[in-house]
Structures are given as structure tokens and as C-alpha cells.
Symmetry: C2
Subunit: 234 residues, 2 copies
């Protein structure tokens, strides 16, 4: 019996095994319910055994981010800086969409791991290779923000306001209180055949904003922008 238990735990615990098990667990049921204790149980190990491979839960989360960032396809650039950046960001997005919890965790990390620094360094390098000044690149990276990881905080979630099971009386009341929100949720455009409550195409929204930013960056670069002048003042 004790022997069989030994057999089950054949593969010894390692940082990698801990991290990938954590990623799988988060993929399956989210990060919030992910606990050191549950992770240990999943690995058939006593909770304290984890602390041999990660100092604490914070470091576990750091490691999980590294796993995800490591999955991003860094091959296949483009011809110019713009398509290179675009490709990398969309490659990151593909990974992030597979690990929805990663968005929140990446945002909560304060210490940048070597893996994360390397990713950012590469992205900065793309702008520099495109001839961007250190100055402009700096601001451009800030403007890009979390979009460089392929995600945005969807703070405008009209799918929640969308039709579904909402009773007509309530819809009517909402349309009176929040006419603009409802107009968008309903996509009721006068000069167009209205498609009611079709939800959002997140990928389209992401690329819309990404391209808007990249176009803006390009314009500033071409104008030889420096931080002496503000973008609003041309």
C-alpha cells in the first residue's frame, strides 16, 4: 500500500511540475479558487512540500506568469516595426485567450521576472529597430500598456447589458435611464439595418484599438515627435 503510494508519486516534485500543475488548475477552475492546499492535493503532496519549490504564493503566481509568457511565439516577425509589433502582440493574445486568468495575474504582479523583462526588452527593441527614439519609445510603451500582452481590461462589457433573459419591461426602463448604453448594446443605428444584441467581437475591438495606437505611434514618429511637445498640440 505504502509502496503503491510511492509508485504514484514516481516523478519527483520540481518547480516546473508545480508551476505547470498550477497553470492547469487555473485553466480549469480559475485563479481565485486556486490555493496552495488544493494545488498540493492535485499533486498528491502535502501542502508544505510546495514551499520547497516556491517561496510563497506570490512566487507561485510569478512563476505561472512566466510559464504563460514563455508560451508566446516569438518567431515570425514582419517586414517593418509596425507589423512586427502587431504580430507579437497578437501572438501574445492567442496565448492569453487560452489562459483567461493570466490577464488578472499579470496585472497584479509588481516584480518583473527575467522572462517578463526579456519580453518587454524585445518589444522595445522592435520600436528602436524601426528608428524610434528612446524618448518616443518610452511613451509609446506606456501608451501600449497591458495591450502589449495581448489583452485589455474589458471595462465596457455590453454583453452584460445585452438582451438574453432580461424582461421587456426592464429593458424599457433601462433604455429610459441609460439611452446611450442601450443604443450601443442594441447596435440600433438609424442609417443601417439594426442587428439587435449581437454581443461584441472582442478580437475586432482589440485590433481596432491596437491599430489605432500603432497608427498614432507611426504618425508621431514620422513627425519627429519629442517629449518637448505634447501630442495634442500636434
Amino acid at each position: 500500500m505504502a509502496e503503491q503510494t510511492e509508485t504514484v508519486r514516481r516523478t519527483p516534485l520540481s518547480r516546473e511540475r508545480v508551476l505547470s500543475a498550477a497553470v492547469v488548475l487555473a485553466d480549469v477552475s480559475g485563479v481565485e479558487p486556486l490555493s496552495m492546499r488544493k494545488l498540493a492535493q492535485e499533486l498528491g503532496v502535502v501542502p508544505m512540500a510546495l514551499y520547497k519549490h516556491v517561496a510563497n504564493k506570490e512566487e507561485l503566481l510569478d512563476g505561472m506568469v512566466d510559464v504563460i509568457v514563455g508560451e508566446v511565439d516569438t518567431g515570425a516577425g514582419g517586414e517593418d516595426w509596425k507589423s512586427t509589433v502587431r504580430h507579437r502582440v497578437l501572438a501574445a493574445r492567442r496565448i492569453l485567450l487560452r489562459h483567461p486568468w493570466a490577464r488578472r495575474v499579470i496585472e497584479s504582479r509588481t516584480n518583473k521576472s527575467p522572462v517578463v523583462l526579456e519580453y518587454m526588452d524585445a518589444m522595445i527593441g522592435m520600436f528602436r529597430a524601426g528608428g524610434f527614439s528612446v524618448d518616443l519609445t518610452h511613451h509609446v510603451m506606456h501608451a501600449l500598456g497591458s495591450r502589449m500582452w495581448g489583452f485589455t481590461q474589458e471595462v465596457f462589457d455590453d454583453s452584460a447589458t445585452a438582451p438574453a433573459e432580461i424582461p421587456p419591461a426592464m429593458l424599457h426602463a433601462m433604455a429610459e435611464k441609460y439611452p446611450h448604453v442601450m443604443a450601443i448594446a442594441m447596435r440600433a443605428d438609424h442609417d443601417d439595418e439594426s442587428v439587435v444584441g449581437q454581443g461584441c467581437d472582442d478580437q475586432f475591438e482589440f485590433e481596432f484599438a491596437l491599430d489605432l495606437l500603432l497608427d498614432g505611434f507611426e504618425r508621431l514618429h514620422e513627425q519627429g515627435w519629442t517629449s518637448r511637445r505634447r501630442p495634442a498640440q500636434r
Copy 2:
């Protein structure tokens, strides 16, 4: 003695008192350590007493966001849609900077409260009043994202990589591994007198990105953009 205790609790508990106490507590020591139990203690009340005014901790957080959003100065618009939006966003930012925890909490909310819906409705209305189509406004709101609340996730935090107490040997090693990150952290521009590690001006970065977006929105609007065509394709 029992009488005095009564006297101390003079003002009866109310939803408002619970929420504002929670906001104060979060301002002082952050949201993470904020617990129902500590909040109750702060109010001189048994933990369960809170549940008379908020259904659970989620609803407490919802309410806290409402308090913050309610603080945003909604007066004083501008002449055109652009300056109106700009003013509102920067007004929101002023409030958010006073409640640093609110950023994270706003992002974590999935249910939009009436207060939040009203804020978004007003913002959508600003674009609509500026002549924006429902279609364009929809995408523009997505592109604005959390920036409509006056904050961005500062995922590119070079203050962490900045000088401070980092030993020169380590700085040198980092400059070899992450040359681009360090170049930006050091602000070492060749064709300019280099100012070493001055940290970031968050307000400048915020306005830089905000204006970049607003300029982009304006351009699309003037071009009569519709979602049939993608922004990258002009």
C-alpha cells in the same frame, strides 16, 4: 458601562456609513487587508451586523466603487466633444489617484451598478453629441477602456528597474541582458543630454496616451469611418 457602549454607537449603522468606512479603511491600508471582520471592528460592531446593509463582500466592493465614481466632478464640460471627454476623464483621474485601490476593484467588478452605468452613459453621450455614430462610438468606448476611469494598468513600471539601491555590478549585468529596458530606464538618449533614472511622470504618460487616442478618434470621425473598414486600412 453598557450604557456608555450604547453612547459610543450613537449613530446607527447604515449602508452609507458602512461604505464610507470601508473606503477610508482601504485608503489607509489598501483593499487586500480589508476584511468584513476588520471593517466591523472599525465600526464598533459585530461582523454579522454588516450583512444587514450589504449582502456580502462583493456587494461591499460594488458599493465602494459607487462611492468613488460618485465623487467624480461631472460639472464643467468643454466646448467640443474632445475637451468634454478629456475633462471628464481627467476629473475621474483626480479621484482615482486619491483612492489607489479603486483601480483594481473597478477592474474586478463584473456587474455594473446604476452609478457606473450612468457614468458610462454620460461618456457615450459626449461622443454622440459630437456627432459620432453609434457604431464608431461603440468601438471608441472599447478602445478607451479603463482609461475612461482615469487610470491605466502601469504594466511597464520602469521605476522598479530604476537606480535607487541597485549595486552597479547588477546594473551592468542588467544592461547586458535587457539593453533596451535599461536605455529607457536610464533615459540615455544620445542626441540629448541624458537625465539618469528620473522615474516616470505618470500624469504625462496618461495624457500622452489619452490624447493619442482622442486624436485617433477624431481622425476616424472626420473620415466617416464605419466598421465595414478596418482602421489599419485607412
